[in-house]
């Protein structure tokens, strides 16, 4: 009887035991490098306005940090394998909202949450487009949205001369205690770091895993019972919130904003930054945004106004180099460099979200798919 029961009792499924972690020879060096590196980075970030005084005023740095937010907002969409050109328009909305709220006398602590909430309707609208359009089609739609917003809403609202709706509105003011360039830097840098932290945490969580799966095979993802739409809208809302807050801060930085500022062409420029930083990478986006955002301003102050327009040329070349040789962008370079410094082995090749987007996701792709052809095979 016992043998029969043993036979029929639920068996134990043997699982390979995870190997005990052994101390690798390079570990101490790696930990030391990491600690030193992080400490240096923190020190640099905390003192950046003073470190960079030789190149120009802190205004340039503040500007760079805000561009960093905008680029982060664009890079985040790399998680679902899309890219947006409506970021600049969303920044503009943030600007308008903050102006309205300040006119209404709302304190700063309440302004930011309201700004974030106000970004949701627009994000949802863009999200609806994302459900139906893919790749370049979606980007064109966002571009058209940005263009229309700029020409209709902003031009009307911000007025022909610039500023806000005529003489009755005040300029946007910075919150109390953060009015100087350096102090404002700490406010926005803190915000950027918080945003980066949130994005990083999302990426590491099950949401990030789901987004990776969604990017790799939307069909398999949906057939398994997960809704791609929900994840797309979530990502777009996250991106929109960041962009809108960036716009609010931009208003605080500039005080008055000319009505023709938020050109869609600016979005293309920021997209170039995002590519250079590495689409989908949080750190890459921040670094690229700060670097390329501050650079032209510093260039201007260093060269006393001789180099207008050089930044576009420069970023064009950098983006081209990235596409040709380093699709992962600065993030990939940083990763490889860091591994080399740490002494680890060669990094596994990173598949950039850029490489996974297919530009033919339009009518032709649809027809090919409909004919039952497996378009997963590429030349």
């Amino acid at each position: 009887m016992s043998t029969m029961l043993e036979d029929l009792a639920p068996g134990k499924v043997s699982r390979p035991r995870p190997p005990k972690p052994t101390v690798q020879p390079g570990d101490r060096r790696r930990t030391a490098t990491r600690t030193i590196g992080v400490t240096l980075l923190i020190a640099f970030v905390l003192t950046m306005p003073y470190d960079m005084k030789w190149a120009g005023s802190s205004f340039a740095l503040d500007y760079g940090v805000i561009i960093g937010m905008a680029v982060l907002s664009m890079s985040v969409l790399g998680w679902i394998g899309e890219f947006t050109l409506a970021t600049v328009a969303q920044m503009g909305f943030g600007l308008v909202v903050v102006n309205l709220l300040q006119d209404a006398g709302l304190p700063f602590a309440l302004i930011l949450p309201v700004v974030i909430l106000s970004s949701i309707p627009i994000s949802v609208l863009l999200g609806v487009f994302a459900l139906r359009l893919k790749g370049v089609d979606f980007a064109i739609a966002t571009l058209a949205f940005g263009y229309t917003a700029q020409k209709t809403f902003f031009q009307t609202y911000l007025g022909v001369q610039g500023g806000f709706g005529g003489t009755s509105s005040k300029a946007i003011s910075r919150p109390v205690g953060f009015t100087g360039s350096e102090s404002f830097y700490y406010l926005i840098m803190g915000s950027l770091l918080l945003m980066a932290l949130i994005c990083w945490a999302v990426n590491r969580s099950w949401i990030g895993t789901s987004l990776t799966a969604l990017r790799e095979s939307e069909a398999a993802f949906s057939v398994l019972g997960h809704s791609p739409g929900a994840y797309k809208i979530f990502t777009i809302c996250l991106s929109g919130a960041i962009a809108t807050v960036a716009g609010a801060y931009f208003g605080m930085l500039q005080g008055l904003v000319p009505s023709n500022y938020f050109q869609p062409a600016l979005a293309i420029l920021y997209f170039g930054f995002a590519v250079a930083g590495g689409m989908g990478s949080v750190a890459g986006a921040c670094v690229a945004g700060i670097f390329f955002g501050a650079l032209p301003k510093y260039f201007d102050s260093l060269s006393e106004g001789h180099f207008v327009g050089y930044d576009q040329f420069f970023i064009g070349i950098v983006a081209l180099i990235v596409v040709l040789w380093i699709p992962g962008g600065m993030a990939d370079v940083g990763r490889r460099l860091w591994r080399r410094v740490e002494g680890g082995g060669p990094a596994p090749p990173m598949v950039s979200p850029l490489e996974e987007i297919d530009v033919r996701d339009g009518v032709e792709g649809a027809i090919a798919a409909a004919a039952g052809l497996d378009t997963g095979v590429e030349a």
Partner: protein
Amino acid sequence: MNRREIFSPDAKRRAARFMADRGTAVRRPNGGNGHGRTLVLDPKKLARFEPARQRLAGQLTDGALPVRRARIGQREILQVADLTIHFGGVHALEGVDLVARTAEIAGVIGPNGAGKTTFFNCLSGLLTPDRGVITFDGHKLDGSPASRGRLGLGRTFQTPRLFGSLSVMENLKFGCRTADSARREYVFDPSLRRLSHEERGVRIAHMVGFRGDLGAPAGSLPFGDLRTVELARALCGAPSLLMLDEPASGLDVAQAEDFVDLLRSLSDLGLAILLIEHDMSLVMGICDHITVLDFGQVLAAGPPSEIQRNEAVIEAYLGRSD
């Protein structure tokens, strides 16, 4: 008498075979086994014996004893009526009817371009048909692919679509999450429901015959393993109907045999299987019912023996030598 001696080796073997044959059967209608006796088996108690039952079933199909296909509780789970889809001038599907039952393997065959994958895409919800009604488990099927997945429609693709940069276990967990959120029972092994995602993944991977590293990135697997893992992932979602699109293509003879055994066991356990395949010997050997498509229309439908003799099918596949 010593209780031990009641259970002679022969009796044990008979008992084991009895358990293997009955699967998860609960009740038999009167006179079910031909002797006028009613047999009642408690499902909770049976569930405890599932893993052993599976092992035994695997051993018993090893050529020695034929396994009687369990046909208990067989019911229609999928009804497709008049499914039609056109792409411009191309009539990809025209008035296709099909019925799939639980514990049955239904095959869909046809020459290339007949519309088989398009048919699956319509069932999955990836394509919207122009006309036709699909009823699944009593519900009219017209929602998004995700909602259909949650209802119990599992599917694999012609080319395995795993999430390459995620590990095998993470791939499997996607299915487990759906099963939990949709509160689905595992037809082929109800005890799985109580296990954690990790354990479920290990069990199901083991069941389908995946012997590799569950922590390895799915993109690094050899081709045969890709199919296996995709099947495991679909099974993790606790489907009641499993749609397999050319699952045996690219498998060698040994792998194909293992695969056939697996499908038979799954079908015995109550899973409904819909199969697109080009390997005729496999199809004729494993399918209980075959639907033949040609140019989007149903050319013939019936048991393999009928299909093999059907003139129109022979002509469509092999052509006539006149």
